[in-house]
Amino acid sequence: SRTRFKETFDKINAGFNRFFPELFGGGKAELFLITDDLLTAGITVMARPPGKRNSHIHLLSGGEKALTAVALLFALFELNPAPFCMLDEVDAPLDDANVSRYCETLKRLANNSQLIVVTHNKITMESMDRLLGVTMEESGVSRIVSVDVGQAVEMAVS
């Protein structure tokens, strides 16, 4: 229904609005309905990283696009926070400053949900409470081992 969609849209927009400056260390972002028809209107994603001009997500840099999408994904998750959230390598295109802020946000979200974070990034690994290593000692056969951060660096180099 129209009301239900508008409520959902507004909540997600508020979350997106809040996560974006947290992840970017500033700036702002917002979702916009393209038309007045709440039942069919498409949605555009506008974002203004710190010091930049407001623009459509498509016009941002590779890392800025990814981090903007992460802000939206966190807002979508928070609408109905599950007991866990699993993230697969979302930090790949981020520079060190953005990865650090992303990790701060992960720590905050981890107060209320269990986060399982697949990553190759050393900064992200160091921010985790614990690490699970996945190995393939035997060809094509995966196993799980517990690792500490020092081991993890070695493991990534297989």
């Binding site: 997600i12 979702l31 209107a41 498409g42 949605i43 599950a82 981890a110 393939m136 094509g140 995966s142």
Partner: protein
């Protein structure tokens, strides 16, 4: 509901029975390219009721069953189980009184497919009902797979809308 462990057997590269305990609230999963990290993610999506083989990176559902390696023959059955601690009693419906809730999915190569809740044969619908209101489920945002970020980045306005609708 809090996730206690994930049990994977015969699912993709996890041919052997694997018991994954989650040690804390912020758990990193690491390892070389191709070692099976995304397969763990696929396993969780699958047991939560994913029906699209494409979203599980396969051509058909039976592609999730371990299909052999240079050191092992293919096998004929895949199973994934999520075990939740429900001592807070928050899980809705008829399972609210259980202190532990297990959701298991099994698929065999001849096509036999089962969902089990606390070892009771159930329908996929029962699993979705169990998850309703918990934020879990195949179209929830509890699993953000490799490539999801790109899909959001590349999405047209109608597609962004459907992401919002999925969350509602």
């Amino acid at each position: 509901m809090r996730l206690k462990k994930i049990l994977i057997a015969g699912f993709k590269s996890f041919v052997d029975s694997t018991d994954i305990r989650l040690p804390g609230n912020l758990v990193g999963v690491v390892g070389p390219n191709g070692c099976g990290k995304s397969n763990v993610i696929d396993a969780v999506r699958w047991v939560m009721g994913e029906t699209s083989a494409k979203l599980l990176r396969g051509d058909s559902m039976s592609d999730v069953i371990f299909n052999g390696s240079t050191s092992r023959k293919p096998i004929s059955k895949a199973s994934v189980e999520l075990v939740f601690d429900n001592s807070a009693g928050k899980s809705p419906g008829k399972f609210a009184r259980f202190s532990e809730i297990s959701v298991k999915r099994i698929l065999t190569r001849d096509g036999a497919s089962d969902y089990l809740i606390n070892n009771i044969k159930s329908r996929r619908k029962d699993v979705l009902d169990l998850f309703r209101g918990t934020g879990l489920g195949p179209r929830s945002y509890s699993v953000i797979e490799q490539g999801m970020v790109s899909r959001i980045v590349e999405a047209k306005p109608e597609e962004i809308r459907s992401f919002i609708e999925d969350a509602a």
